[in-house]
């Protein structure tokens, strides 16, 4: 992992096996499939539900500062805790959780490379017991708004040649052939993509075992589509979670200085009246 710009944000399954019981380490599972945690998880790992615990459940937004402080406190996490996130589907929603924790400026948050898939494929130990961590008092330090971009800023940014957009959805979603992935409900009125966007599906950043590709492979993947460190990069998908994964790869594994996640993504843009769309 040493060829990455910030190797400290990734840990291996071996590292987690060795450190999962450390007092200052909290292992947290966040899955796309919210029932997966109950089946079996890393012993001692807390489970977070992305649909109810990592968002504002009233209005469409990320988790509020108060709710995050409550969630972390109940999870036994303090400001000085090392949070290790992992999940199913190559850490798709683990990356979503990491993005929000970075937004709220938690000091030390990492991803277990390969996620649940690698842990299970390696035949490691799991259990079904939910831990009962000792309550802590967590205080958010601040908000790093450089990591997130909202609609009005995207509309302005696409006018600049310095901006490049990475649409990390599947090619069929990008071209508008389908409105959402198979088996998932439709959530937009129009198919296609934001003008200027390049299609680099999020899964292309991963190896077959769920780990991230090495730095040279990632550099090539993005540079081949004109996504280079000198640009202001905006990543988006359908609701902002797949793009958190690509945002993580660009921001921390490649060290691109200006990468933002557009969590409004296609379910916002594709529903806007009068928004320009390309197919």
């Amino acid at each position: 992992m040493t060829d990455y710009a910030h190797p400290e944000v990734l840990v291996s399954t071996d590292w987690v096996d060795e450190h999962k019981d450390d007092a200052k380490v909290a292992v947290v599972e966040v899955d796309v499939d919210t029932a997966a945690y109950q089946e079996g998880h890393i012993p001692g790992a807390v489970g977070w539900n992305w649909q109810t615990q990592l968002c504002d459940t009233l209005q469409r937004d990320i988790i509020s500062q108060g709710d995050l402080e409550k969630l972390l406190g109940e999870s036994g996490i303090g400001n000085d805790t090392t949070i290790v996130l992992y999940g199913d589907n190559n850490n798709w929603f683990a990356a979503w959780a990491l993005w929000q924790l970075k937004l709220y400026q938690h000091d030390d948050v990492r991803i277990m490379d390969g996620g649940r898939k690698k842990w299970f494929a390696e035949g490691r130990g799991v259990n079904t017991e939910s831990p009962t961590p000792e309550q802590t008092t967590y205080k958010v330090k601040g908000l790093d708004s450089d990591l997130r971009i909202l609609l009005a800023e995207v509309q302005e940014a696409i006018k600049s040649d310095k901006t490049t957009l990475v649409d990390v959805r599947s090619p069929d979603e990008f071209t508008g052939k389908i409105l959402s992935p198979p088996g998932l409900p439709e959530t937009c009125q129009r198919g296609g993509h934001i003008p200027k966007a390049q299609n680099i599906p999020w899964g292309m950043a991963c190896n077959e075992d769920g780990t991230f590709k090495n730095a040279d492979e990632l550099k090539e993947l993005y540079a081949n589509k004109g996504v280079t460190p000198d640009k202001d990069v905006i990543a988006y998908c359908r609701i902002g979670e797949r793009s958190s994964h690509s945002w993580f790869a660009l921001k921390y594994l490649l060290g691109y200085p200006n990468v933002k996640n557009y969590d409004g993504s296609w379910t916002e843009w594709g529903n806007l009246v009068g928004a320009p769309v390309e197919k």
């Binding site: 035949g123 799991v126 992935p181 088996g183 998932l184």
Partner: protein, 71 residues
Amino acid sequence: MTIKVEGHQSELTEIHGVELRVTSYQIGERYFCHVSNADPGATIARGEGGSRGEAREIALSKATRRLPNPS
């Protein structure tokens, strides 16, 4: 009680023209199977049983019902 995961397997299949990933494994005496869309990988159906075949059949049968049949 900590139990080791055994027999993790993953394969691709297709139902109603949709490419799917079928993942199965054993935890203790139970077998689990998930059927996800191959891209991006969201779970469509899951099954659990006393054998891999039973868990797989339950998950695939649910997925077949849930995915739209173009015919």
